[in-house]
Structure formats: C-alpha cells, structure tokens
Amino acid sequence: MTLEPGTSAGPATVVAPSAEAVPALRARALNKRYGRVVALDNADFDLMPNEILAVIGDNGAGKSTLIKALTGAVIPDHGEIWLNGQPVAFKSPIEARNLGIETVYQNLALSPALSIADNMFLGREKRREDFFGRMFRTLDSAYMQKMARQRLTELGLLTIQNINQPVETLSGGQRQGVAVARAAAFGSRVVIMDEPTAALGVKESRKVLETILRLKERGLPIVLISHNMPHVFEVADRIHIHRLGKRIAVIEPKRHTMSDAVAIMTGAMAPPVDEAA
C-alpha cells in the first residue's frame, strides 16, 4: 500500500452496509498529525446500528488515534464525524459520553478502592430527589445500588453477593464485567471496547465475549478493538482493517479467514476488491 492523497474515496474496499440504514457512527477523511508523524491519514469509519464492528490493525497503524478521535479524546485536524446522521465535533471525552458514546478503556478506568456500585456511577452520581438531595446533595445510594445490581444481572454477570464490595477484590474478568456494565448502562448509542479480553484468561475471555453478544442483543452497536483474531472472528459482524493511518478494508468474517485478515492488516495481501460497494 502506498499512501497517495485522496485514497479515502479510492479503491479501499468496504463491505456495503445494509441498504440505506443510517450508520450509528460514521467518520470521513479524519486526519491527525503529531509533528511529522501521520497518525490518521484520511481515515474513514462506519458503524452500523446493531452490529459488532471489530477494528484490527498492527501496532502503530493508528487504531487508537482513530478510536480517540471518535470518543473525543483526540481532536482530529480535519475530517467529519456523524452520530446517528447528525454531524458532531467532540471537544472532550465527556462530550462524547454525554451524547451516548461509552468507552470501556483497556485499563478499565475503575477506582479500585470504591465499591462496584460507586464505580458504576462514578462521575454521574445520582442525588436523592427529596429535600436532603436538594439541600445537602445527598446521594441516592439505594437507587444506585439497585441499578448497579440490575445492570449486572441483565448482562448475566451473575449474582454478586455484595454490590458494595471494593472493585479491587474482584478478579480481572469481574472487573471487566463491571466496566462493561457501566458502559452498557449509560451508552445509549455506541459502546466502544478497547482490548476487553487482552488481560484475561481463557474462561474469563469467554464470559466477556458472551457479554458483548448480550449487549448487541439489546440493540447497542459495538466497536471492538482487539488483537485476538479468534475472538474477533467469533463475535464480529464486520471487521474494519486499519493500516498506515487509514481504513484499507472492511471484511466479513464469514467470507474471509483469519490469515486473510492478518495478511491484509500487515500488507502481505492486497485488500479484496470484490466486496466493494
């Protein structure tokens, strides 16, 4: 792959998303430079409603910059982003979050000493609606605990004996579960997961993949960034392949093998043309 200007609309192959559906999250020609390093080079992105889109790419391909641009953590130099068809320009992750884009960070962004319930509502605690809540900003702990338990149950994250136990007493998979449940509870439009299985053992990874599928069942579109090809091929509906700062292909796991994906990702194989829109 050589980098020519304007390849954004060029031969990059994209699996046609179903008919006229409005993408849940869409980006065109995103650019981001850090000095002389081009992190994003006219990168495009499409996430359709109710799909699991995996994003794969070699280290340094610009995946994380792409995700950061989509979640407001990085402001692109050029390019446009649409959320459910509406143009958006995030100035901070908080802004993206307020519009319903939730991110499960690789480090989970949980506060270890705080409880499960506290973590679920961290940064958006709910106050009581009575006199005490208005006058003294008293938190509605009962409500938050109830909601936290409900969310975890909905996602099949089993019965946690004590919703008030500190997150640090949980296993890696359980912590991941709390972070995912938090994203699911508040992500009204898109949930983005950065390497959710990277730090987990085989069994716990299964559990997380199962949770991802459950989220999808609930109608949430999901972006899954992962290095783990078996996991990607197991749950993804489409796979966005990122290379040298841009999307070079979107493939369907049903029609390609893992080695194809890796070959396209590393440049050993030309992106398929047959699936172009």
Partner: protein
C-alpha cells in the same frame, strides 16, 4: 443467546459451553485465617485503630490505677486532642487525594492571628474579623490547591513552600506580638467562646438525672466544634458525589478523569476546604489558650499527619476515614497521657508515637496487598 441475529454458530457453541462452566462466578474460596483477617481489615480498616485505642485504655488503666480511668482525665485527653483532631480532618481530606498538607499548622496560626489581631489590635468588629480569619484560611488552602493543580508540583513540595510563605506572612501580620487573654476578653470574647467550659453533670442534674459518673467531666465548646466538623466532613465524604470524587481522585487519578471527574477541581476544592477547616481550628485554638500567640502550635503539622496515619488512612490515597482520624487523634492523646500518668519520661511518649506510626503504615501496606 438463541435468538442472536448475527448467528455465528461457532460463537454460539463456544459461549454455551462457557456459560456452563460458570465463569467469573463470585464464590467464596477457601482461605486461611490470616488471609481472612487481611480481608476483614481490608473491608473494615477502621477496626484497627479502635482495637489499638481499647488496648491502650486497658493497659493504662492498670499502669496508672485510679489516675487514668476517670472522667476528669478523659476530659483532659479530649481537650488535648481537639485541635489536632480538627487539623486531622483537614489533613484526611488532603491525604485521601494522595497528597499531603504540611501547611495546616501554620494556616491555623495565621488565621488565629488574623482573627485576633484584626479584632483586638485594629479594633475591627469581631463580626468582620472572624469571617476574615476564616477567609484567610480558605485563601491559603486555595493557593495550595491552585499551585498543586496548575503548576503540577508534588503537594509535599508545594505545602513545604507555602508553610514557609504563610509563616512569613504570619510574622509580618502579627509583628510577633502576642494578644493577651484579658485584652481578648475585653474586645472580642466571641473568639474565646470555644474555650467555654461545660459540665455535663450539671446539665443532666438540672433535668433531675443524678449521673454521678459524669462528675468531674468537663467539656468545652471546642470539642463540640470538633465533633461538628468531623460530622460534616464525614457526611461530605460518604454521602455526596464530591466525597466519591475525593476518594476516586486519590485512588487512581487517571481512572477518575476517564470516568468524567474533574480531578483538578476536586483537588482545588479539597485544599481550599482543608484551609477553611484549619481556620476553624484557629478559633478553637484561641479558645484553648485564651489569646493569640504567633508561636503556638509548632508541632501541629506532624501531629495531624500522625493522627491521620494512625487512624488508618493510607498515605497513598483513596483509603481512609474521618472516624479513623478521630480515633487516631485519641490514640495519640491516650498514649501520651497514659505514659505520663504511668510516671514515664516525656521521651517515651515520643518513642511510643513513633512506634505507632510505623506499625500503622506497615499494617496499611499489608492490607493494600489484597488488591494485587
């Protein structure tokens, strides 16, 4: 799972198997007694200072029979720890954010000088002088918070610097002059109010309750102010969103930021609030010594840190409680008082406090291992 529209059969199979294994279930595993003790302490870290306090009381009841275990002696201990406990509340807030405030003592003295001198020497009505003192404390804390967040310097260095700066301002404003009790009494008795002595026995006796065990117990308003300050800070830390943010900021600032917490604003608020609490301690200090002394409270800084640490609050942030700090302050008071009554020299008090600090931090480290 069955009506999954994406319909990847392999995934279905894999996941069904997985769910049968019952991954990530939250069951109890078999653990040894030491591990269970560690978990208990992890869950209830304040239990250690309580146990130490009870052990101390038990020891000194035998070591100094008849002297230690009396209502009068407990009143004395309470009065001795009041100021340290209030400063400890301020220090707890800061240490919970993984910071440290070396300037609490000097902020207290500066605020007491502002209150006393403005009222007594410059003749400003106490209704103005008192809020001015509170404002001075608040402003000092705000300066600490702004430097910590805007210049991104370690709190230790920042407050070491402001300790010196506020100390210099104290000398400048006070001209190193003491305000005598009599002068204070004449112009601004309100500032001495915290030293007013209450006799709970008389109070209950007036209600017809002859509770003789309360005889000899004297309480001053300063101790009540201490309890109020502690209650308010307890409430803020445990029942408000700000409190959650204080813990989260100290626990893992990056995670807190990603969760949407404005950690800089939280830190600034914490330091400013700490400064304000120091100014309240200033009011109690004036009540205790009757006047204002620019040289008072030299050891208050380290004593407040000692109370916080012995009370089980972690110097690494994110863990600890106000109740722990109150108990920590009481432990120091009980050990100092008990050792003195047992006839030991002053140096052994310092020795004991030093041992307590090291033991407290060791236990904290051990409890924290549970996270890994």
């Amino acid at each position: 799972m069955s009506d999954n529209a994406s319909g990847s059969a392999a995934a279905e199979r894999g996941l069904t198997e997985a769910s049968q294994v019952g991954v990530a279930s939250f069951d109890e595993m078999d653990r040894g007694p030491i591990r269970r003790a560690q978990e208990f302490l992890h869950r209830f870290p304040t239990s250690i200072p309580f146990i130490v306090l009870l052990i101390g009381i038990a020891i000194f009841s035998f070591a100094a029979p008849g002297k230690f275990l009396s209502a009068f002696n407990f009143s004395l201990i309470l009065q001795q720890v009041t100021i340290i406990a209030i400063l400890g509340c301020a220090q707890t807030l800061v240490i919970l954010t993984a910071g440290i405030d070396l300037s609490v003592g000097v902020i207290m003295i500066l605020a007491s000088v502002v209150m006393g001198r403005t009222a007594v020497v410059y003749g400003v009505p106490v209704e103005i002088a008192f809020p001015l003192g509170l404002l001075a404390g608040f402003a000092c804390g705000l300066v600490n918070g702004l430097i910590v967040t805007k210049l991104r310097l370690p709190p230790f260095i920042v407050t070491l610097g402001t300790w010196s700066i506020f100390g210099a301002l104290n000398v400048w404003y006070s001209k190193s002059e003491t305000i005598r009790q009599a002068d204070m009494q004449e112009t601004a008795p309100f500032l001495q109010w915290t030293g007013t002595i209450l006799r709970p026995y008389n109070f209950f006796a007036s209600m017809g309750l002859d509770w003789t065990f309360l005889k000899g117990w004297v309480l001053n308003y300063g101790s009540i102010v201490m309890l109020l300050v502690a209650a308010v800070i307890w409430y803020v830390l445990n029942k408000t969103a700000f409190g959650r943010h204080v813990y989260a900021t100290g626990d893992d600032p990056d995670a807190a930021r990603l969760a949407g917490i404005n950690t800089d604003r939280t830190l600034i608020a914490v330091y400013a609030l700490a400064g304000f609490i120091c100014a309240i301690a200033a009011w109690v200090l004036i009540g205790r010594i009757g006047g204002v002394s620019p040289q008072a409270g030299q050891t208050a800084n380290l004593d407040s840190i000692t109370a916080v640490v012995i009370g089980g609050t972690s110097l690494f942030g994110g863990r600890g409680s106000i109740i722990g700090t109150l108990v920590g302050a009481l432990i120091v008071g009980v050990f100092r008082n008990g050792l003195a009554l047992s006839g030991l020299e002053l140096l052994w008090q310092d020795f004991a406090v030093g041992v307590l600090i090291i033991v407290a931090v060791t236990i904290d480290q051990w409890i924290r291992k549970i996270s890994s």
